[in-house]
Symmetry: D2
Subunit: 140 residues, 4 copies
């Protein structure tokens, strides 16, 4: 329990807007990359095989983000990912987005994903082989 998945990404030229700061929709792309690596490394089942072999997807049903401070090109974003709620088919993920240099939180994301059978496009219970490892990231 209480594991935290830490993922760092460099803020690149392509993430930034004419004001020189990250264009906010790209933070969701960066968060998705964090989720992908968490699934592969933290949960032990990467998205490519989950989708390609097991035909299970993890669509996002809701997401919420507060942007407290900006990030600029050349800075490093450090996401700390926790599971903040665990349902039957759904997982709520909490991302604390910090500037690596000083550890201050610049943004915070809450995202709810569901496990979905891609063939019939219906939500399914979290696969039994994945649930214990997902649960190990549950914040208490």
């Amino acid at each position: 329990m209480n594991q935290v998945y830490v993922h760092e990404q460099l803020i690149r030229f392509s993430h930034c807007d004419p004001a020189g700061i990250v264009y906010f929709p790209r933070f969701f792309d960066l968060a998705h990359a964090t989720m992908e690596d968490w699934l592969a490394e933290g949960v032990g089942q990467g998205l490519p095989a989950l989708i390609g072999e097991r035909r299970i997807g993890t669509p996002t049903v809701s997401i919420q983000c507060d942007f407290a401070k900006t990030l600029r090109i050349g800075e490093t974003l450090r996401f700390e990912l926790r599971v903040t709620r665990l349902g039957n088919a759904s997982v709520q993920l909490g991302y604390s987005g910090k500037k690596q240099a000083d550890g201050e939180e610049h943004l915070a994301i809450r995202q709810t994903i569901v496990f979905m059978d891609l063939a019939v496009q219906k939500a399914i219970p979290i696969p039994a082989d994945l649930r214990p490892r997902i649960e190990s990231f549950l914040a208490t």
Copy 2:
């Protein structure tokens, strides 16, 4: 009062993911395009001049989205944009994202932007020349 800004966008190849549906971070990019055209056409002050000449930006401080149904390549997304709250420096925008073909709501976004003096990176009151037209979109 009670104006609604309607903006339609074709879902393109580049918006869609390996599951053939819109990759959710791109909805925020599509919503940003709607906001840009609303500023230009609805409010009468486009972002290029606002940023370039007046040195005022409109960064997003929080955003929330519920995704009820997917959208696919070739479908048309119709955003209906309203002002859902009006502060001194901030504007909360509500986007109802409908599938144009049947008018059903597929997603809903709440976004709070602030007007910011780009030179000093501080929030400023909504410019007096823009406030009345922004207010005309306030949902009551």
Copy 3:
């Protein structure tokens, strides 16, 4: 013969980089949108149905671009699209990218696409029902 497909797109906030000009990879995305609309309107067969119903894709096998001048947020890019070479399975497209305001060419793209059977991932002859209309855009 000698038809030209004209397609205009507003340069948006999200296309631009910290230097305030279009980040060059986005020009290929803008060109792809032009190709999509040309297929739908100029050739009479849109990509969604081509992929979804006929299971035919149009992957790019080579592309070349010269960037002579920049484009900025708020400007309108006007692509003039011609077919510059027509093979058995391949089509070479030439895009002249002009700034709409003054008609000057800012960039020029040459792109070769092939028609591909998506089931077997092999090139196929240009579908007979599409060839005459594609040929009508051949520059002579």
Copy 4:
């Protein structure tokens, strides 16, 4: 002389299109990331400081790409970057894009960048402190 800068990137969900392969404009974004890391690590001068402190940019004036084979989600792209031509103000970069798993070349890019004084938007000679290290990557 003859140094090669090697840079590996995971192909992610967001890079892929409805056909499950990388949407080609994103290869240019991936190549740009390689160039950014090469500037920082290979040349010793990262783009953030180059732009932000020295006010020098490296816009792309031409680019050419051949796509021989596709790449899919979960595969790793390995770019091998060389300098293929060195001018007074310009550098031509050659990227051999290999699938890391088998070392086969899937795409090849030629890109010409120029060093530019951002204040006056004019090309300038390659900065003297950077030229020797850039030259060390020149393929002979």
